[in-house]
């Protein structure tokens, strides 16, 4: 389980996260949603051990999240982070050398599903295909926690669909937990078990998506809008 206890994160004077208490159950797909600047990416980087909180504690399976947590957590950044001169195959080799839980065969399967050729250079790939490659090497890790930061931003609908299918097919919820930040909720609404709504570094709500549909008869997007407008009280 992932737990954030009284977590705050300040960048100079700006508070990105403000005294957050939240836990992420295992075996689920959880969406962290909210407007730009609400603290979504900061939250993910704290869980990945890439940032340290200003106050409070981030625990993963009861262990403090630091850089070594990358053995348990696979993190996909929202920016392009690969060496452009690598071919796709070289990138797969590189990932295999870095992560013990990396499965070469799984990577190949996902790349095939997404119609990516192994001998292409990263720098020659389209933006959509770079997004697919990034997803393939992340999902090819059998890490217990997989974090995806804005996996759909700037990608066309075809790419989004193939990425969603990759997620459903290659994540094993018996042993893995997936956390996604996004502001394109419609795309993955049917995929999420649970959502956490952030606004200005605070948590506005956390609820199961099926419960939202059952209790309020509205979409997750509308529920979020209501929370933002203060029309639905969350306790």
């Amino acid at each position: 389980m992932i737990e954030l206890q009284h977590v705050s994160k300040k960048y100079l004077l700006k508070k990105a996260l403000d005294d957050i208490d939240v836990s992420f159950p295992i075996g689920k797909i959880i969406g962290v949603i909210g407007e730009n600047g609400s603290g979504k990416s900061t939250m993910l980087k704290l869980i990945a051990g890439l940032l340290q909180p200003t106050n409070g504690e981030v625990l993963i399976d009861e262990k403090h999240a630091d850089r070594k947590i990358s053995t348990k957590v696979a993190y996909m950044s929202d920016i392009d982070q690969f060496y452009p001169f690598f071919t796709v195959n070289q990138l797969v080799d590189f990932y295999e050398s870095q992560f013990q839980d990396f499965h070469r065969e799984k990577a190949r399967d996902i790349l095939r599903l997404m119609h990516i050729e192994g001998d292409e250079k990263i720098k020659h790939l389209s933006k959509g295909n770079r997004g697919r490659v990034k997803m393939a090497v992340t999902l090819a890790r059998n890490a217990p926690y997989i974090l995806l930061d804005e996996p759909f931003s700037g990608l066309d609908p075809m790419v989004r669909t193939s990425i969603v299918q990759g997620m459903i097919q290659y994540i094993d919820l018996q042993s893995q937990t997936l956390i996604i930040t996004t502001h394109e909720i419609n795309e993955i609404e049917a995929l999420l078990d649970e959502v956490i709504v952030l606004r200005k570094g605070k948590i506005l709500g956390q609820q199961s998506t099926e419960d939202i549909r059952m209790e309020y008869q509205i979409s997750v997007v509308d529920w979020m809008k209501q929370l933002y407008e203060g029309r639905t009280k969350y306790e």
């Binding site: 075996g27 689920k28 797909i29 669909t161 969603v164 299918q165 459903i168 097919q169 994540i171 919820l173 609404e189 049917a190 995929l191 999420l192 078990d193 998506t209 099926e210 549909r213 059952m214 008869q217 509205i218 979409s219 997750v220 509308d222």
Partner: protein, 126 residues
Amino acid sequence: MVMEFKPDKPIYQQLIDKVSSEIIRGDRTAGDKLPSVREFAVETGVNANTMQRVYREMEHLGIVETKRGQGTFVTENLERLQELRTEMKQLYIEAFVQDMGKLGFTVDEMVEGLSQYQEERKENDD
């Protein structure tokens, strides 16, 4: 292809309705094998947990049966399938009556309207 879902009803229920309709229409018949949870999840674009729940609930409702090591099948209990047909009919009638009721129609008017509709269709067929 990936399914579209309505926002006002849990997805697992919409999926149960979908499979039930397919059975009633005869697209899936008694003893037919359903896809695996994972396959069906990918096909419809939902999460494997949701699909697992769909299978569990359908089994609970007696619409499907899981045979160990073989997969999940549409029940061969024809009586249950007949019941399912009646239940679905009831469900759609209730929804129809409720919608018409909101427009101010009485049940008598609905019945009258339906028989009129049937007459007209018969005439058109001639």
